[in-house]
Structures are given as structure tokens and as C-alpha cells.
């Protein structure tokens, strides 16, 4: 126990002690964004089930295989956006990881090592982003990652030009096509990682620091939080998850090209925002983002089952994003008077 000030107790203390025990306000509890998301998700599942005879049993689980790769990136993107930053280079990072893994494997590296290399490349890309963002405070992360986005994909193109590379061992497909019992392996991995990331964000000291930094970076620095170190860690983590996404995506396709994962960054950011994480930083949680992954994923899958054309699907997804943000702006939160500069 540290030496604590033993100040005289003053008389006019009016702090309610009873709140220490329980502070669950039912009204507040149910007026949360997550509930709206849960309702949307349930509605989508019900509609999916009722309009299509094929949306039954294991199909519900199987469907997740189609969007889990983005899910991995969402987990880390929540941290990035909570900081009030953004990373639009993740799609390119995933492409670079995937291409380098394929090249390494075809150059004779064992598959296991190639997979590690894939994650390591992601880690490296993320680390470079992190360093640049931490060291160049004058520049918004949007600009820096815009540049690295072009560069990372550029490297992927230089390496593989217009070729495809693949020929991975049969077992590598297990990542995205295999099952553990009835549960797809990718879904299982996602759940495990989601729990880890959820705990990290909501229960750990690090998570608390992330929220503090997102709310007020100056205060955080003055309060002794290692702001730069944390930023670098988070962007590195983001890169690592882009690497993980590359693993699962490549496994799903059994071959790779420099143009894979194009536009993933926007999908991922959209999911995080739909999940109620504010791009101004400091507000939102992991659960919402995870729900949003399933909402967008199942919506797309459900629309696909009834053979809705891609054009209409784009419009529906766009309207969903805008409608939900509008709803969160006007139904749940009082609108902020003015955006923070």
C-alpha cells in the first residue's frame, strides 16, 4: 500500500456510498446500442430462415465462413478506432501478407513457417504504420495509412505482378474449410480471439488506457500513460490481425493474387462503426462490433440465398450503414452539438 494522503475528513461530504455496491440502471441498460444490434441480428436471422428453406441448422454456422476473415480485422480495428485513429491500409496489408506467404512457400519454405512469416509480415506492416503515426503527430492516421495502403499493395504487385501463386498443401485449407464438430474452425478461432480481445479491451489495464487515450490523449500523457508505445502496439496488433485475415482468406481461396482483399478496409471500418464505435474515439465496445460482423455477414448471405443481385445488395448495405448511424445519433445519444476538431 502506498503512502496515501491522510487528509482531514471534511464535514460536508455528500457522496452516495450505496452506489458502490450496484450501479446497474435498468433504464440505461436497455437503452444501449447493442440491444438495437441484437434486435437487427435476430430480425435478419428470422427473415433469412423464413424466406429460404436452406437457412437451417448447420447452414447458419457454415455461413459464417464467408465473413470470418473480415471479422479478425474488426477485432483489432475496434482498438484503432477507439483511439480516434483509422487504418485504411489493412486490406493492402492482408494482400501483401498473403502474397509473401505464397512466394515463400513456393520458394521451398515449409508451410508452417510460411504461415508464421505471413503473420510476421502483417506485424511488420502494422509496426511501420504505428511508428509513423506515433512519430508524426502532425499527420492524421488517415493520410499516413493512405500512403502505406498504396505502398503495401504496390509491393504485392511488384512481387507477384499479374500472376497468381498457390499450390498450398491440402491441410492448409482446413483453416477456412474445416470443422471442429459442427463448428467451422474459422468461427471457433474467431470466438476465441473475440474473447481474448474483449477481455483485453474491457478488463485489462491496457484496455482502460486505450479508452483514456481515445477520450483525451493529452490527459492520458499527463497521467503517465505511454501514449506512443500504446499506439504502436495497437497498430502492430492491427497489422497482425490483417496477417491473420490473410491466412484465412488465402486458405479459403487456395491461391492468391496481389489484388485480394481489395476494399476490405472500408468493409471492416463500416462494421466497426455499425457496431457503435465512435470514430471520434473513446466510445463503443467490442460486443457491438462483433454483433455488427454477424449482422453484415448474415445480411449479405441471406440476400445471396434469395439471389438478390449484387447491385441491390450494395444499396442495402449502404443504407443499413447510414440508417444505423443515424439511428444511433438521434435515438440513443443526444446529438453532439459540434464535432470535436
Amino acid at each position: 500500500m502506498s503512502k496515501m494522503a491522510t487528509l482531514n475528513k471534511r464535514t460536508n461530504v455528500e457522496l452516495d456510498r450505496s452506489v458502490l455496491e450496484h450501479k446497474l440502471d435498468p433504464k440505461k441498460f436497455f437503452l444501449q446500442w447493442e440491444w438495437l444490434l441484437v434486435i437487427i441480428l435476430v430480425v435478419i436471422l428470422i427473415i433469412n430462415g423464413s424466406i429460404s428453406d436452406y437457412f437451417r441448422g448447420t447452414q447458419v454456422l457454415d455461413a459464417t465462413m464467408n465473413f470470418m476473415d473480415k471479422g479478425f480485422m474488426v477485432l483489432a480495428m475496434v482498438f484503432v478506432i477507439l483511439l480516434g485513429e483509422i487504418d485504411i491500409s489493412v486490406g493492402s496489408t492482408a494482400a501483401l501478407c498473403s502474397v509473401i506467404m505464397a512466394i515463400a512457400y513456393n520458394a521451398g519454405m515449409p508451410m508452417e513457417l510460411s504461415m508464421v512469416l505471413c503473420l510476421a509480415v502483417g506485424l511488420g506492416c502494422g509496426y511501420i504504420n504505428g511508428i509513423l503515426i506515433a512519430k508524426c503527430k502532425e499527420l492524421p492516421s488517415m493520410i499516413i495509412t493512405l500512403a502505406t495502403m498504396t505502398i503495401y499493395r504496390g509491393i504485392a504487385y511488384i512481387i507477384l505482378e499479374d500472376q497468381a501463386s498457390g499450390g498450398f498443401p491440402e491441410w492448409f485449407q482446413y483453416l477456412s474449410w474445416g470443422y471442429v464438430g459442427p463448428i467451422p474452425f474459422s468461427l471457433l478461432m474467431f470466438i476465441i480471439l473475440a474473447v481474448v480481445f474483449g477481455l483485453l479491451l474491457h478488463k485489462s489495464v491496457f484496455g482502460r488506457q486505450v479508452y483514456a487515450m481515445g477520450n483525451n490523449e493529452t490527459t492520458s500523457r499527463y497521467s503517465g500513460i505511454k501514449v506512443n508505445r500504446n499506439k504502436i502496439i495497437i497498430f502492430t496488433l492491427m497489422g497482425l490481425m490483417a496477417g491473420a485475415c490473410a491466412l484465412f482468406l488465402t486458405s479459403r481461396m487456395a491461391s492468391t493474387r496481389p489484388n485480394v482483399a481489395q476494399g476490405y478496409e472500408l468493409d471492416v471500418i463500416a462494421m466497426v462503426v455499425l457496431g457503435g464505435v465512435s470514430t471520434a474515439g473513446g466510445k463503443g465496445n467490442m460486443l457491438g462490433a462483433i454483433l455488427a460482423v454477424f449482422i453484415v455477414g448474415y445480411l449479405r448471405y441471406g440476400l445471396g440465398l434469395i439471389n438478390i443481385s449484387a447491385q441491390v445488395m450494395m444499396i442495402i448495405i449502404g443504407l443499413l450503414l447510414i440508417g444505423s448511424v443515424l439511428a444511433s445519433n438521434f435515438l440513443l445519444n443526444k446529438p453532439k452539438a459540434l464535432p470535436k476538431k
Binding site: 430480425v43 423464413s50 436452406y54 437457412f55 455461413a63 445471396g304 443504407l319 443515424l326 438521434f330
Partner: protein
Amino acid sequence: MKKWMTVVCLLIVAAFVFAACAPAAETASQVPESSTESGEASAESSTEASAGTETTGSGKHAIVFKNTGNPYGEKEMEGFENAVKEAGQEAILRAPDQPTAEGQIQIIEELIAQGVDSITVVANDPDALQPALTKAMQAGIKVIAVDSGVNAQSRELFVNQAGSELFFFFKQKTAYEMCSGSGEFAILSATSQATNQNAWIEALQKIMESDEKYKDMELVKVAYGDDLRDKSVSETEALLQSYPDLKCIVAPTTVGIAAAGKVLTDKNLGGKVALTGLGLPSEMAEYIDNGVCEYMFLWNPLDLGYLAGYTAMALTDGTITGATGDKFEAGTLGEYTVVDASDGGTEIILGPPFRFDSSNIAEWKDVY
């Protein structure tokens, strides 16, 4: 103001929920004219699905094109649909919004879940679809590749627009004629998206080395226009700047040839630099009429899709198994035979591409 914003929000949310529900209601009523299936098929489909996928006969056949919004693809899908409809069966036409393998995989998964009888793909990548297509074949679904193929392991049959040798013969002779046997020529290609193009270019270079006839011709550059208009234009302009003696541009891509046609027209180079390749008649009509492009080629996508449709149905009902030597009747196109493909699988060859020039372009420009 807050109040009406709330109302607007609610409306938007409601609209989106309806948007998600509405197609469900529509599929039953609207489908016949919405080009997805024939009249009674929708009723059949639900009963059939519950009966399982083993049922052959009047089944559901799906085609997955590279991406949406491509008129060539629309025609190919239309041809496919015509064939399937003729036989009174149900056709499903799908395409992802981006020309990526990821998008196609998801669609294939959805089709597997729907228990279709056959899937015909125009692949964005020859290998990337393998796991998805293998899964489909394991589920008893017949898999056919058309136009832009997949590797031999992930298909049962490839409907090829033309045997490669045939194509080179045509193209090579064309370039030869247009350069009158000597001089510089360049290729303006797309990039990786099209599986077939790189194979063509490679084999072309081989032929040029081996055949004496082409010794005076020089391939100066293979430029890549990424199938983007602006980039194709920049690349064409750079070709013209860098190689003032250029005699001919060969563009085996529909976007590239049209962009090059536009540049040559704007620069009044018609007659000085010849242009040929693969192009859509509708896109190229202008440049064939004004003489920039004397003639160019393309398969009839309607026929290609049509043949693919009959192939899919023949495979499903057991008329053919995909083995070499199998024969079947493809509607108005007549009889086709399955032959060995160069990659170890089997294929059906549509026939030589169609040659478009000023004499026939008028009748085709409004078709596709």
C-alpha cells in the same frame, strides 16, 4: 428538428428491414419476368429442394460471372438462361460486385446451400475457386467452367470459346496482315483479372520465335491497362509517344481496345496505326465505322452462354459424363463433342470467333 430526425431515422431503419423482407415476397410473384427463372419453376424449386439434390431432370442451374455490370457477361448469362429456359428448367444468374475470387466463393457457397443441380463459373482466378468448387462437386453438384476457366481438378467440363491454337492463328494472321508483314506492334492487355489473356500472350511470343514468317515483325511492348479506361488511355498514349513507328496495336481486352480506338480516333491516327483484338461490337462500332479498326473478333457471348447452359443440363441429366468422346445436342447450335483439354481435363470448343468488320457491324452493334 430532433423529432423529425427521429422519424426519418425510424423510416430508414424500417425501409431497410422492408428492403430485406421485400425481395422474399417478390421472388414468388416477380421472378418470371425478372429473368431469373421460368414460369412454374419457382413453385417447383421449393418442393424439389426439400426432396434433395439427387433429383435430376428439371433442375436448377446457376451461372456465376466475373463481376456485375459487364455487358459481355450479361449477354453470356442471357444465353445461358435462354438455353435453360428452353428446356423448361430454372436458371440462376449471379455475379459479385467486384471481380474477385472471394466474391465468387461466397456466391458458390450460397448456391451449394440452395442445392442447385449445376454451377457454371466464369472464373476470376483459375485456382482460387478450387476448394469451393470441390465442395460443390462433393455435394453432387455438376461444375462447369466457361469462357475463363478453372483448373482441371475443380471442374467437370470446360466450355472453351476456342482452342488456343485456333485463336493464335487468327490473331497472328491479323497482326501480320495489318502490319503487312513487317514492323513494330504492341499488345495492350488487361492485367491479372483475365486468366486467359496471359496464356495467349505467352503462346503468341512462342509462335513468333518459331515461325520464319514473322521475323520482320517486332513485339515492342506489352502494356497493361488494368481494364480501366483512364489507365488504358494513358498506356495507349505512352505507346504512341514512345514508338512513333508503331504499326499496329493488338488489344485482346474489350476495355483496352475501345480505349485505344478512342485515342486513335482523337489523334486522327486511323490508317496509320492499325488496331485489332477482341472487342464488343457495340463498343467498337464507332471505330470500325470510322476506319480506325478495320476488323476485330469476338465470340458470340450469347452462343457461349447458350452452349454452357446445354452442357450443364446434359451433365446433370446424365447424357454426358464429361469424358472425352461424349456427344450431345446443344439446342440450335447443333451437336458438340467433348475433347481433351491441354491442361489434362476435358473441354467443349465453341468454334472460331466471329469476325466483325464494316460490312456486318451494323447488325451486331445493338445486339451486344
